[in-house]
């Protein structure tokens, strides 16, 4: 089995904003650069699809390397499955971004509602009788997953807050 480091692909994305006047109208332009940490490759982009293609290429290599010992057909199936994560991002990610840019307040409210729902759900579960013998100790993986989810949510809220601050100025 491949080691953990060989099963990991890390990406650093830099966005650089340019606001300028053109033909009497204010314009916003984003320039991006995405780097794949493990091999140092990087591409610049002004269109997110180019970044997504870059991520897809790198993830395909990770899955391919980890499944090289499998028959070709099975390997192809696994590569296809491994890229499901990007298909979902491609179908929902741009809509989320566009909606956020169009109406950041609405997006913040939605995220706040989602957090509130989660809190209510947890409160509800806590208020019910807890079958302690059904509990198991949290594994390292559980803790990591929770930490990552909290981190993702925090980042999203922070990004939206910044956008709201910028709009309110």
């Amino acid at each position: 089995m491949a080691t953990k480091s060989k099963q990991t692909a890390s990406f650093m994305i830099r966005f650089n904003q340019n606001i300028y006047e053109e033909d009497g109208e204010s314009q916003v332009q984003w320039r991006g650069k995405i780097s794949h940490v493990q091999d140092g490759d990087a591409v610049s982009f002004a269109d997110m699809n180019k970044a997504m293609d870059f991520i897809k290429e790198k993830l395909t290599i990770v899955t391919k390397n980890a499944t090289d010992h499998k028959p070709d057909q099975e390997q192809e199936g696994l590569i296809d499955k491994s890229l499901d994560i990007l298909k979902k991002v491609r179908s929902t990610g741009p809509k989320f971004l566009i909606d956020t840019l169009k109406d950041p307040k609405k997006q913040v409210t939605q995220i706040q509602d989602q957090i509130q729902d989660q809190i209510s759900q947890v409160s509800h579960e806590i208020s019910n009788k807890v079958e302690i013998d059904q509990w198991r100790a949290a594994s390292k993986n559980d803790i990591k997953q929770v930490r990552e989810e909290i981190s993702t949510l925090t980042d999203l809220v922070l990004q939206l807050s910044k956008k709201m601050d910028a709009l309110s100025k």
């Binding site: 890390s10 053109e22 332009q29 940490v37 493990q38 269109d47």
Partner: protein, 266 residues
């Protein structure tokens, strides 16, 4: 000398008395009481790596041992962690009495962090210089220039270049690149009319960090304009245009085009 001026002087010239000085830019070097610690003393790469990991995470109040092991070792390696930690302490404090706590690596339960009060780190010093320079840029531009110059002098290359492919180092590397890109271009912009050739050198340093940094091309064009070197203004613009088209498929910003148009109109 007022307090603020004194602190600027201190930042610029004040000799730091920290017994440990760490350089992370360009090449990783550690000095103990003024003498460089040789590679042989570290004995294991993981010892160095653990120190570099703690430096990269120095803004956190403490990192749990499990998290450190998870990021630096592939398998459950409690023993390897202890060996590496012992290696750091032994190198940084060779005369530490037995069974006493380290002054540099602080343990709090199962969390660890580096004690910055006794350690000088190049990137922290550069950041302090840049923050102070930015704060006084409009009120004390001459002092701001001195501070930015001192900060950019500290840039001798990318952050931890020997850990380029380790994901735990990338966040700090990116933060430093943005910090220095700003410092190089801000300083170049501030001195472009008085010292155009130096502004060109600084802009080129920014472009070494990021060849698509358009501000740096624009400052170079302005500098060549001050030097009266019209062909180089045009050549720099063409280079900028070519890079932006190649990398992003876009044209330079109107403000960059206007520098060129001013030249062409003359």
């Amino acid at each position: 000398m007022n307090t603020q001026a004194h602190s600027i002087a201190e930042l610029l010239h004040g000799k730091d008395n920290s017994p440990i000085r760490i350089y992370t830019l360009g090449q990783f070097k550690v000095y103990r009481d003024g003498a460089e610690i040789s590679a042989k003393e570290w004995s294991r790469d993981k010892t160095l790596q653990l120190l570099q990991f703690l430096i990269s995470n120095r803004s956190r109040s403490g990192i749990h041992k499990e998290l450190i092991i998870d990021r630096l070792w592939d398998a459950d390696s409690d023993r390897d962690f202890k060996v590496a930690l012992h290696g750091i302490v032994k190198v940084l404090e060779p005369n530490r009495p037995a069974r006493t706590e380290s002054s540099y690596i602080i343990r709090n339960g199962l969390s660890y962090h580096i004690n910055l009060s006794n350690i000088w780190i190049d990137i922290d010093h550069a950041e302090q210089l840049i923050i102070r320079a930015n704060n006084i840029a409009t009120t004390q531009p001459a002092e701001s220039i001195l501070l930015l110059r001192a900060a950019t002098d500290l840039y001798t290359g990318t952050y931890l270049p020997n850990r380029l492919y380790e994901d735990w180092s990338s966040e700090e590397r990116e933060r430093m690149q943005i910090l220095f890109l700003g410092a190089f271009t801000d300083l170049a912009q501030m001195i472009v009319s008085d010292q155009p050739m130096e502004a060109i050198r600084l802009a080129q340093s920014a472009l070494q960090i990021d060849p698509t940094w358009e501000d740096a091309y624009r400052i170079q064009m302005e500098a060549y304009l001050y030097k009266g070197n019209r062909p180089m203004v045009i050549k720099t613009y063409q280079h900028c245009e070519s890079i932006l088209r190649e990398e992003f498929g876009i044209s330079p910003l109107p403000v960059t085009k206007s520098v060129l148009n001013n030249i062409l109109a003359q």
